[in-house]
């Protein structure tokens, strides 16, 4: 019974922790502009992250090593360094976006300008990382993130034409007023929002932080196979709420406040309060994860001691990197850079950089010298190989599309 409860809690945490500012912005924007015509991109992304995260968790539990630890070892220091630079930069953009997102969520509840709140948020993020135990951190913000289920309640309350919604989702087409280019661009954005690389760095390092062993593999699989798809369903609820309320009004999403508007419009003040808590939890949790990921990937490339499972002074360089990353993200946010634009860039570039993180995992998950007899099965390898092709294609077309569509606005 206790075990069941632990698994259940893990699944809830996975659902609540799935959505971050990238998912919020991408799903809301596409819902308003494309209706449900891009729902398939979310499904594709969710299957990808499930495959990906299961492998990472298994590698961490069996080999006891997180992904980036093994990138230098398997790919060599030069390729590893290129990977590190690209991954770190994109992770940094995401961190900036999440910190700004927390500040915006707080400003929507307090009407203090979000810029004034950014330093406070940055300090809070650092403080939680410094003091709060790893598992507590995950649980608290993951469970609070479940407040975002209010989007599902919103959709249900509207009582839409479910048949129509499903039909559009299953028979996607480029809507009038949009081009094939913007359609594919936003598909990539949704895909990148679902398959964020930092999830992988964090997930696999976290497995080592929590001292997973082979006995934890079943729990890992439950979290990933049940939690993540439900998180994907939550993303689709965000998309549907934008489709039903913002689309018909002709509203284009450029601010986080607009993402919450359907909930307020349908459910009133209570709904709005709940969604703001959810927004705060999702972005704060993601800020913690991206800040830690900055520390993880650099420390793991260099071979330094890392992790929250030791005293801070025993992993000083790791904590210094985390602190400096948060500081730099704070400064970048204070330059008045548009948080939604930074979010858009971070998810699109994440999509383009996926082969960098995905390929090493695939190689290591198949390597018996690390995995013993727990290497990938044939079915998994088949799906994983298909995804590798998809990721490479996405990687090649992303930057040109970014330029052609002028960041989605063209």
């Amino acid at each position: 019974m206790k075990r069941f409860f632990a698994v259940f809690l893990g699944i809830l945490t996975a659902i609540g922790g799935f959505v971050d500012i990238g998912d919020l912005v991408a799903n809301s924007q596409t819902g308003a502009r494309f209706g449900m015509n891009l729902a398939w991109a979310v499904v594709l992304g969710v299957i990808g992250i499930v495959v990906y995260a299961e492998m990472c968790g298994r590698v961490a539990a069996v080999a006891g090593r997180p992904v980036f630890d093994l990138v230098r070892e398997r790919l060599g220091p030069r390729a590893g360094l290129a990977n590190l630079i690209a991954s770190f930069f994109i992770n940094f953009l995401t961190l900036t976006a999440e910190v700004a997102g927390v500040a915006i969520a707080l400003s929507l509840a307090s009407s203090v300008s979000y810029l004034l709140l950014i330093p406070f948020v940055a300090f809070l993020v650092w403080l939680v990382i410094w003091r709060m135990p790893f598992e507590t951190m995950e649980r608290v913000f993951g469970l609070l993130g479940l407040c975002l289920l209010v989007f599902a309640v919103t959709v249900w309350k509207v009582g839409p034409d479910w048949g129509g919604l499903f039909h559009t989702a299953s028979h996607p087409q480029v809507p009038a007023g949009e081009t094939g280019f913007t359609y594919v661009y936003f598909a990539i954005a949704l895909f990148g929002a679902a398959m964020t690389p930092y999830e992988v760095f964090f997930f696999s390092s976290g497995a080592v932080e929590e001292h997973w062993t082979e006995r934890d593999l079943a729990t890992n699989r439950a979290n990933v196979l049940i939690g993540f798809p439900l998180g994907g369903l939550l993303s689709l609820a965000i998309m549907a709420s934008a489709d039903l309320i913002l689309g018909p009004a002709g509203i284009d999403v450029g601010q986080l406040s607009q993402v919450a508007l359907p909930v307020a419009s349908v459910l009133g003040r209570v709904g709005l309060a709940v969604v703001l808590v959810g927004l705060f939890a999702a972005t704060f949790g993601a800020a913690l994860e991206t800040a830690l990921s900055a520390g993880y990937i650099i420390s793991q490339y260099m071979g330094w001691m890392w992790g929250k499972y030791v005293r801070p002074r025993q992993a000083s360089r790791f904590h210094l990197v985390v602190l400096l990353s948060i500081g730099a993200a704070m400064i970048f946010g204070l330059t008045r850079v548009d948080p939604v634009k930074v979010t858009e860039y971070s998810i699109v570039l994440s999509a383009a950089a996926l082969p960098l993180t995905y390929f090493p995992i695939l190689v290591i998950a198949n390597d018996p010298s690390y995995m013993g007899d727990k290497t990938n099965g044939r079915f998994l390898n088949a799906i994983a190989s298909i995804y590798l092709v998809i990721l490479i294609v996405v990687s090649i077309i992303t930057i040109p599309l970014l330029i052609i569509t002028k960041g989605g606005s063209g």
């Binding site: 290129a82 002709g250 450029g254 601010q255 406040s257 709005l272 002028k406």
Partner: protein
Amino acid sequence: MRPRAMTKAALAVCGACSLASCVAHPVGPARTYSTYEGKAVTSATAAQSSVATVQLVASTAAAGKAFGPYTVVSVSEQEEGLSAVEGTFASIQPPDRRADALRDELGAILTSAVDHIAEVRIAARRGDLDDLDRVAAPLRADAAALDAFVARHG
């Protein structure tokens, strides 16, 4: 690609992207009328979204479905955004006389919209949420004008 070249490529892409995300989309002069018209329609479309957002926020707040801070921040964001759009559009050099007329027409609509949104923001800041529907009423005319503009030139 050799690893050293890969590292340099990674740095180059990172640098380019960071610049791209920091710098606002550059708006240059429009050389032909149709290019100018296209930029005008882009500005008008952005304005439509801002106006629609404020209308929805106002009616939601007036119905008691949103509280003060959310309303104030949402409307202020749209006001700032639309002011920026207005400013950007005004800074584009019109290529000919015909474009001048277009500039005056859209300029007037945008200014009117920004003013009306400002009124909503002021009322919201004062806490007059129940009254916001009435204060936001002039935006209907702005929305209609924008729709007509986009229909004619889009």
